[in-house]
Structure formats: C-alpha cells, structure tokens
C-alpha cells in the first residue's frame, strides 16, 4: 500500500514524531551540563588553574601561536590568552548570575503577590510591567551607563530591573493556574494561612518552570553584558573579560592573527549554547508536567 502513495505527499502524511526519553537530560544536555560545570570550576579556581598572571605583559612574546608554554598563544601585549580567558570568565559570569538571581527572586515575589492578592495590586503591577517592557534590556543598560558611568554596576542593576517583569509575568500566570487546583482549596478549607499556602506550597510548585526560564535568561544577559564590554562601556580595559578581550584584539584580527579574538569568541558561543541547551531541556521536561 505504501508504495502506491504518491511520493510528494509523504512529507505531509508523516506524523510529527516525538522522541521518548527515559533520562532527564539527553546526551547533548548532559554534555552541556558537564561543560558548564567545568567552565564554572576552572573560572572559580582560576588563580590555581591559570598558568600565568592574566595581566602580565611579555612584550618579547607578542602574538605567539599555541605552544606548550602558552596553550592558546598570547595576545598583542604578550599576555597569556588561556589565563586571560579563565580570569575573564569571572567578570563574564558573575554579572549575569547576579542579574538572574536577583530578578528571579524579586520577580517571583511580585508575581506571587500579584496573582495571590489580585485586585488593584495586580492591576498596578501589570501596568508597571507593561511600561518596563517598552525598554529593551540592553537600552536600559546603556542609559544606566550614561547616568552612572562605565563598569558593570549600572548595567547589572538596569538589566535586573529589565528582567523582573518577564519573570513576574510568568510567575503570575503559573500561580493563577495553580490557584484553581484542588490542593490549594483543600489547604485553605483545612484552615492553613493564605500566606503559608502561597509560600510553602504554591511557590515550590512553580519554581522549576521559572528556574528553567531563568536559565535561558542567563544566556541572554551574558551575551548582552559581554556586548557592553565589547563596545567599551562595560568592564574596563586592563581587566580581563571575554567581551573586552575580543575588543582589545581587534587590531590583530585585521593583520591575520585570529586566535586572540576567536578564542574568547568561541568560549562565549560555547557557554551560551550550552546554557541555552540546558535551559531548553529543563523547560521541555518540567513544562510538560505543569501545562
């Protein structure tokens, strides 16, 4: 029978197949987690792991290619690239971590309050969020730099504020759908305090979904903060930072020395890809249970 079917319609008659997985993470997802763990550990222990001082300039050894002494070679000032990447990860990862942790915490609280209390609080908060959505995170960060000067502090605060509405709106929606579930009514009939139900029973239930989304935001924030360092408004020059390193070595890119720019560029891509994979797999797995 199958061969009488015209070949042209096969693409349409084929059902969309979903893979069944037994493990929580796929093979790619597990690889991403191992990679991120490795990056975080080497970055935390940079002083132990790094072969050189990241700021030590060796002008006799400028733009050297990879060698046993310098695994990734050196940049235009003769600084060891591997060491700079390891140290640069500290500024590159701490910023997004702060943004995601703080905005998730505040966003969860605001979302919970908006859904739980409803009424004018809900209306007011959603007005404020609607307004904040009009400001793209990167633009708010640039405005903060214009006001408070270069560096990471202004952008981190600005991006935290920019991401709160995203988390809060997600949390609010999840809480609203939780509230209609029988267990909430059961607790309330049993005489548990409303705040207790919200914080101890509803919050843990919505946290995984919000956490998965926050993981994805980590990747976006990392990219945005690195972009700011790249255009010279974020982490300032002598300090190692992935975005800043790419900017510093642009001169040698034009003369054909690719490694000083491409090495940190590749690290940024790999880290963001890995985080996106983890975030997507998390929300795929967890999201299924909740929606």
């Amino acid at each position: 029978m199958t061969d009488t079917q015209p070949a042209t319609t096969r693409a349409l008659s084929q059902p969309v197949r979903f893979k069944r997985r037994n493990r929580f993470f796929s093979r790619v997802g597990s690889a991403a987690i191992v990679f991120i763990t490795l990056v975080v550990l080497t970055v935390i222990f940079a002083p132990v792991v790094a072969p050189y001082n990241p700021d030590h300039a060796d002008l006799m050894n400028v733009l050297a290619g990879p060698s046993p002494a310098h695994w990734l070679g050196t940049d235009s000032l003769g600084r060891d690239l591997l060491s700079r990447i390891l140290y640069g990860g500290r500024t590159a990862l701490v910023g997004p971590l702060l943004v995601v942790v703080i905005s998730t915490t505040i966003g969860l609280i605001l979302g919970l309050i908006a859904a739980w209390r409803g009424g004018w609080i809900d209306a007011l908060l959603s007005r404020i969020f609607d307004f904040l959505f009009a400001f793209p995170a990167l633009l708010l960060a640039i405005l903060a730099i214009a006001l408070f000067g270069k560096g990471l502090t202004g952008p981190v605060i600005a991006m935290t504020i920019a991401y709160i509405p995203f988390i809060a709106r997600l949390a609010r929606g999840l809480v609203v759908s939780e509230m209609s579930r029988p267990y909430v009514q059961a607790y309330s009939v049993l005489g548990f305090r409303s705040t207790w139900i919200a914080v101890r029973r509803v919050l843990p239930n919505i946290f995984p979904v919000v956490g998965a989304q926050a993981t994805l935001y980590f990747g976006y924030v990392l990219a945005d903060l690195a972009s700011l360092s790249f255009i010279g408004l974020g982490v300032q020059a002598p300090q190692a930072d992935w975005g800043g390193m790419i900017n510093e070595s642009r001169g040698s890119l034009q003369s054909g020395d690719f490694l000083p720019t491409l090495a940190p560029a590749l690290v940024v891509i790999l880290v963001v890809v890995a985080i996106n994979i983890i975030g997507e797999e998390l929300s795929e797995r967890i999201g299924g249970d909740f929606s």
Partner: protein, 341 residues
C-alpha cells in the same frame, strides 16, 4: 423599558447587527491599542527625562562631566537646558521641543541634536531593513524546509545550526564574519558605511548578517514548529485526502495558518534589532544612530543619549503596536476572539 430590551435583542439577531458589532469591537481594539501606545510613550518620556535627576549632585556639573566646568560653560549649560527652572517646566520645554523634532543643542557637536540624528538615521534604517529582510527570507525559508523535511537529516542540520546561531551574540558573529569574509577572503569591507548607493549596500552586508543571523535562527524555529503544529491538524489531513497537490496544501493550508505566530515573533524581534544595531554599528564602524548612542555615552553627551533612548523606545513600542494591529487582519480568528487555532 421592555420595548427597548426587545428591540436590542432583535438588533442582535439581525445578521448585519453582528457584523457591525464586530466592526465596533475592532475599532475599540484599535483605539485602545493606540491609547496605550500614547500612554506608554508619555511615561517613557517622563522616565527618560527625569532619569537625569537620579544622579546626585549639581545637574550642570553632571551634564558637563569631562569638560571644563568654567563659570561660563556652567552658565551656558544652565541657560541651554533651563536648569534654573522648576523640573516640570524643564520637562515641558524638552518634550514640546521633542514633539516638534527639536532636542536642543549637542554638547560634543556644534549642531543641534536633531541634525546630528538625522544625518545618522539612514545608515541605521538601511541596516535594520536589510537585517529584517535576511531574517524573514532566510528564517521563514529555513524553517519551512525543516518542517517539510522533518525528522530527516536536513531538519536536524537546520535545527542544530539554529541552536548555534541563535546563541551567538551579534558582536561575536561580527568578529567571525570579519575574520572570514573581510580579512581572509577579502570579499566585503570590514569598516565604515561607504558611499550611499551600491557601495553602501556592500558595506552593510556583513553588519546586517551579524545583526540578523541570530533572529534567522529564532524565526526558523518558530516557523518550523508553527508549521509542524498545522500539519497535525485535521484540515490539512482533509486537504491531503482530497487529493490536493502538496504545493497547494503547504501554501494554502499549512503556511497560511502558520503565518500568525511567525509574524508576531518576527515583528517583535525586528523591533529589538534597533537596540542591538548599536553594538553592530560600533563593531563595523558604521555611522548610524546606534554608534552615535555609544559614542555619546563615551563622550558624556547626555542630550543626545536622552534623545536616542526616547526615539528607540518610541520605535520599539510603535513596531510592537503595529504588529498587534496587523495580526487580526492576517488571522481573523483573533479578531473574532475565538482562540481555536
């Protein structure tokens, strides 16, 4: 009283009555969206203007950071910005100028802010337009191919490429494209915006690609999943069993119905391009609005920063509103209020 009530019921029963009520609803929807657009713009202008007051200290000295705060320049800046007026008066002066296209004088240039902006605007518009074109053509194309070949090698390859490109920040992509296409192959220039015309287009290819490829990836994924969604639906099954050609089924049934989410995502993403373009313009040394924003932050010219932030927010919100308004036209089910998709 009862008489009016029955008349209303009768009106509702009339076939024409329903149609005009839907038209009224649509009009209400449009007015509501336009009103909220204006409200957002108003609050945004308040925020952008009064953000300056968040910085502690003397406003004249804030505006003159990095320049010599001589008594004459302080007096000049005080007069220019009306710093001795009450804050609301300063805002009114600023916003009434802004509405008429006058943002005052720049600190770093001898020209007015608006003249500087106008000179820089074409490059940014061309860049965003080109990147948007790439996004729509490549993104929808790749997504549609992936959906038609779903489960096969092509699909997986497109998905993987989408994951990689979607995660690559624009500035990293810019560096990689410069390394490959400008330095190694020498096909495209890596710096400057060129002369208007063909030369400009050639100069904008790499910037537009670095700006657009991440969105291409996202749009491809949305297209793919939206089309896959449609293919599972009964109307497509019926169309196939009626013996319509694949081309007709894909175009008339799958793609047409999958279009609405694609449009929504594309519109919102392209609106976001306006901001990212500042990074790309800076990477390629393009003389656009975005690089002007970065340079003005660098040179502490807050008047220009304020003007650009307000314009970008206005553009961002307006594009989003347009997307909202256009969507029911493309997909009447949204206007009808039934979410049976």
């Amino acid at each position: 009283m009862a008489d009016t009530a029955t008349r209303v019921v009768q009106l509702r029963k009339q076939p024409g009555g329903r149609g005009s009520r839907r038209g009224l609803q649509a009009l209400q929807f449009v007015i509501k969206r336009l009103f909220s657009l204006l409200a957002t713009l108003f609050v945004a202008s308040l925020f952008v203007f009064f953000s300056r007051f968040l910085v502690p200290g003397d406003p004249a000295r804030f505006l003159l950071r990095g320049r010599s705060p001589s008594p004459e320049s302080i007096a000049a800046v005080t007069a220019e910005y009306g710093l001795d007026l009450p804050p609301w008066q300063q805002y009114l002066n600023w916003i009434s100028g802004a509405v008429q296209g006058d943002f005052g004088k720049s600190l770093q240039y001898s020209q007015g802010v608006s003249e500087v902006l106008l000179a820089r605007l074409p490059v940014t518009l061309e860049l965003v337009a080109m990147a948007g074109l790439f996004t729509i053509i490549l993104g929808v194309g790749a997504g549609a191919i992936a959906s038609l070949k779903r489960g096969r090698f092509t699909d997986r390859a497109i998905l993987m490429a989408a994951t990689a490109f979607g995660a690559t920040p624009a500035f990293v992509l810019a560096i990689i494209l410069i390394a490959i296409f400008a330095v190694s192959l020498g096909w495209f220039p890596s710096f400057g915006s060129g002369e208007p015309g063909i030369d400009r287009l050639v100069h904008l290819v790499l910037p537009a690609l670095s700006l657009g490829l991440a969105l291409v990836a996202l749009v491809a994924r949305v297209t793919r999943s939206s089309m896959n969604e449609q293919m599972k639906r009964e109307h497509v099954e019926v169309a196939v069993s009626r013996g319509l050609t694949t081309r007709t089924v894909v175009w008339r049934h799958v793609f047409r119905n999958a279009l609405s989410p694609i449009l929504l995502v594309t519109g919102v993403l392209i609106a976001g391009l306006i901001v990212t373009s500042s990074i790309v313009e800076q990477a390629f040394g393009l003389a656009g609005i975005g690089s002007l924003l970065v340079q003005s932050v660098e040179r502490l010219d807050f008047g220009i920063v304020q003007a650009i932030v307000l314009l970008v927010v206005a553009a961002f919100v307006t594009v989003n509103t347009i997307v909202d308004l256009v969507q029911p036209l493309l997909d009447p089910r949204i206007a009808a209020g039934s979410e049976t998709r």
